[in-house]
Assembly symmetry: C2
Homo-oligomer: 163 residues x 2
């Protein structure tokens, strides 16, 4: 009897174009390609082009497993922001080192999904690709503590805005 609390998952796709190295900010203005595993028939993507956005589950494969930190710390180690726990962050210091992103789907070309607003680097293994359904998104008023938007004010800026 397999243990339901421990599973093995196999990448369904991989990021093959886009950001080269992980960065904290300036994720905008880059077109990335998520390439579907060639074992899957193309019809598994039928109709995906009618969605504006995807939900993508991926692995921080460039992170070190030793980076997992089961404690509370200030975001980006900035003492202006409160110490918050591993599960109050979205970074790679979490168990399993998974991430979820919501890129905009630009077009589907064969098994290549061209997207923008994907904060995963080239080589990233992708463990799920889903269409984004607003009806299954957060319901009602969404709020976050102030540090989130203070920290991420330049997250989607483009790199030529750095100067």
């Amino acid at each position: 009897m397999p243990d339901p609390m421990r599973i093995e998952i196999t990448a369904v796709a991989q990021v093959v174009a886009g950001h080269v190295d992980p960065v904290d900010d300036f994720q905008g203005g880059v077109e990335s390609i998520i390439r579907l595993n060639e074992d899957f028939p193309l019809e598994t993507l039928a109709g995906l082009e009618d969605f504006s956005h995807l939900e993508v589950v991926w692995h921080f494969h460039r992170a070190n497993p030793a980076d997992v930190a089961l404690h509370a710390r200030s975001p980006r180690n900035n003492p202006d922001w409160p110490a918050t726990g591993t599960f109050a962050h979205r970074n790679h210091r979490r168990p399993n080192q998974l991430a979820v992103s919501h890129p905009k789907l630009v077009r589907v070309d064969g098994r290549d999904l061209h997207v923008t607003d994907l904060d995963a680097v080239i080589g990233t293994p992708v463990f799920d690709v889903l269409p984004y359904f607003p009806v299954m998104g957060p319901r009602g008023q969404v709020h976050v503590p102030t540090w989130v938007d203070e920290m991420l004010g330049r997250y989607w800026d483009t790199s030529d805005e750095k100067a």
Copy 2:
């Protein structure tokens, strides 16, 4: 050298209260509890209570691995809706049988996260719990094909609306 395209993940939490059996609709009006693995110190949840919504990655553990279907079919087999591929759906027929939900966080009580709008049943292994950051949600205008909202018009209704 481990294969980055194949990873083993361990549940960080489990659903211990809420829906008993999987249903297609009438997911609303139920409070669920996601209980953090007791191996993790409570400080890993510090500050999570300041977020209104979570993003939860879970496994369709009640589904049969043989349900994975690498083809296109009409949603809910309803011929009124177009045949669409495995990755244009969010159901359990996908490789890895993962799901992503966006429940509303009602309160944090020790290692119990009380939530509503969670469409995972009791016993579900949870492989990641993240705070929902609107800045990392879909950007710009979101659109979906018409079948999505036609199909899910009663998704969040409460079960006493069935009559």
